[in-house]
């Protein structure tokens, strides 16, 4: 009951921090999509470059977020961005690379070679093939990668509160330092609810972007 009262009293703050939280994740994942999808496509051209890029991306994801934030403080301080919004966005961009590059690469390399043969044989250029065949067929898997990135980084962003990036993580950080259970649980619940609902939203976007001819459930 006390918890509900707390949430009720801090409705506006909760809203504001949710927006902050999503600004970080949204901007970062957007940048990640427009970088990682082209990278994922580009590395399908050469196996060795794919191995290197995927290795680097998976190394990136193994760095704990607290360590990454810590590393960025000395690196970005000369420009005055050691803490706050910028390092948080950069961290999310970096963490999003592996799921999006990896899924784009897998989707494109797994396309039935017969479809490429047919496309080449009918006189499609490389770009036409990408636009008419490869990308539409890769959309479901690319979107799955985006969902993974978003859900994972809603969690990472909660930790970014410690470097002053704002967001729902502040409830958790404050809750811990003040031993305020209500505040702590509010933050934890809000982050979880946010992650689940954004994932559901993206799931329906994924369904909408997928050609009816590719959906697994009978469409008619």
């Amino acid at each position: 009951m006390e918890l509900l009262q707390f949430i009720q009293d801090n409705r506006d703050l909760l809203m504001q921090r949710t927006v902050e939280h999503m600004e970080i994740v949204g901007l970062a994942v957007f940048v990640a999509i427009i970088t990682a999808v082209p990278i994922g496509i580009a590395i399908t051209r050469s196996r060795s470059s794919a191995e290197i890029v995927l290795y680097l991306a998976s190394m990136m994801i193994t760095v704990p977020s607290a360590a990454l934030f810590g590393l960025m403080i000395p690196l970005l301080s000369p420009w005055g961005y050691g803490i706050g919004f910028v390092p948080a966005v950069i961290a999310v961009i970096l963490y999003s690379q592996l799921p999006i590059i990896g899924n784009t690469y897998t989707a494109i390399t797994n396309i039935d070679p017969a479809l490429r043969d047919a496309a080449d044989g009918m006189g499609m250029t490389t770009l036409q093939k990408l636009w008419h065949v490869e990308l539409p067929l890769a959309v479901p898997l690319i979107m799955a990668g985006v969902r993974t990135a978003v859900v994972m980084n809603i969690g990472v962003t909660a930790i970014a509160a410690y470097i002053g990036a704002g967001g729902l993580g502040r409830f958790i950080a404050r809750g811990i330092s003040l031993s305020d259970t209500n505040q702590l649980v509010t933050g934890a619940l809000a982050v979880s609810v946010l992650a689940i609902s954004v994932d559901l939203l993206l799931a329906s976007a994924q369904h909408g972007l997928t050609s009816r001819g590719l959906r697994t459930k009978a469409a008619r």
Partner: protein, 372 residues
């Protein structure tokens, strides 16, 4: 017309240079189907793919309608050549309509024109446009997918088509249906077609000319009848199999093989006239026909020697007839099934046009080899 001039393709592999296609020279006249036939790995598909430059030749030339394909942009070249593959390769994200219209769209056709073309093409193979235009490939049966694959290649009305085992993935019963359907279409569209197959029966059915490949070399290129009658070497002979005579029967029409010397009497003529016909022909069977020449019955001369009356009175019903448009294989099958030594040949209206026996079959087989 398609002409290949000393076309060669070599691949560098870790085991050294492999010659996949070795100096192939071949000509496919306008409107004909040339089947490239041979065991797998003989270079027939590589040869096909060099025609639309999906594989770049190591040396040699390909001419399509007199144009040296080296001088044409490969993208433009491919848009002007129909391409059908065994795996069909319909794009699963596009409807039947959009799949058919791919090349017209690439060529920048007016949308109305290309969509009307899709409807026209579907009707050509008996697929209802209203039912199929908006379906996706996964909502079609294998046979329907393959038909749409062929229509897609025909959409921009290219003069030349390349078909790589187009019916290979279809079950034998439907395969024959689709082959015949395609041959009927070819009667009117008259495309110049290079067709890769490893199935001898398919080649015999589809081809105007068959090119037999082995290890990248062209062993023989000839009409099916020439090939069966005069195989160039032992490899071709063994590839054709031991039943070449039976296969050749399929290629000869009854009308070409039947005898037209008199072997019938009219129903009002006396028996002795029929016996005279029998003596003349040296055959025991004599047919009886009505005033229009329609077959009424058959009598056996040996059973009726010394009798008198009208021939009609001694005639029995005819056990089997064959139409003049059938092939010799079905004629021979009828002769064995009904145990008759002489088979009357009739036209669609039942008028007797001639007759056929074992000797006639044997003679036309002997002739077919010498006159292509």
């Amino acid at each position: 017309m398609i002409r290949l001039d000393k076309l060669t393709k070599t691949f560098d592999t870790p085991q050294g240079v492999v010659v996949a296609v070795d100096g192939i020279s071949l000509e496919v006249p306008k409107g004909e189907i040339c089947v490239l036939l041979g065991p797998s790995g003989c270079g027939k598909t590589t040869t096909l793919r060099m025609i639309n430059r999906l594989v770049a030749p190591t040396s040699g030339k390909v001419y399509v309608d007199g144009r040296d394909t080296d001088t044409v942009d490969p993208i433009e070249l491919r848009r002007s050549i129909g391409y059908v593959i065994q795996q069909v390769g319909l794009f699963p994200n596009k409807t039947v309509r959009d799949n058919i219209c791919i090349v017209p769209d690439l060529l920048g056709w007016d949308r109305k024109k290309s969509r009307a073309r899709a409807i026209e093409l579907l009707e050509l193979v008996g697929m209802k446009p209203g039912e199929f235009l908006d379906r996706y490939p996964r909502e079609l049966s294998g046979g329907q997918q393959q038909r749409v694959g062929v229509l897609r290649a025909l959409a921009a009305d290219p003069p030349v088509m390349l078909m790589d085992e187009p019916f290979g993935a279809i079950d034998p019963i439907n395969r024959e249906v689709i082959q015949n359907e395609f041959l009927r279409m070819q009667q009117s569209i008259r495309k110049t077609i290079v067709f890769v197959s490893h199935d001898l029966d398919e080649a015999m059915r589809m081809a105007n000319r068959i090119a037999i490949f082995r290890d990248g070399k062209l062993e023989q290129c000839a009409t099916p009848a020439q090939l069966l009658a005069t195989p160039a070497n032992e490899f071709v002979q063994s590839f054709l199999g031991s039943d070449t005579a039976l296969k050749r029967l399929r290629l000869i029409k009854v009308a070409q093989a039947m005898r037209t010397s008199p072997l019938a009497v009219a129903n009002h003529e006396p028996l002795h006239k029929a016996l005279a016909v029998s003596r003349e022909s040296g055959l025991d069977s004599v047919f009886v026909v009505d005033e229009h020449g329609r077959l009424l019955g058959v009598l056996d001369a040996r059973d009726n020697i010394g009798r008198s009356g009208l021939a009609m009175e001694y005639a029995k019903s005819v056990r089997a007839t064959v139409t003049t448009t059938s092939d010799l294989r079905s004629a021979v099958a009828l002769m064995f099934t009904h145990d008759v030594s002489v088979l009357p040949c009739v036209d669609d209206t039942g008028v007797m046009k001639g007759w056929i026996n074992h000797q006639a079959v044997g003679r036309s087989l002997a002739q077919a080899g010498t006159t292509p």
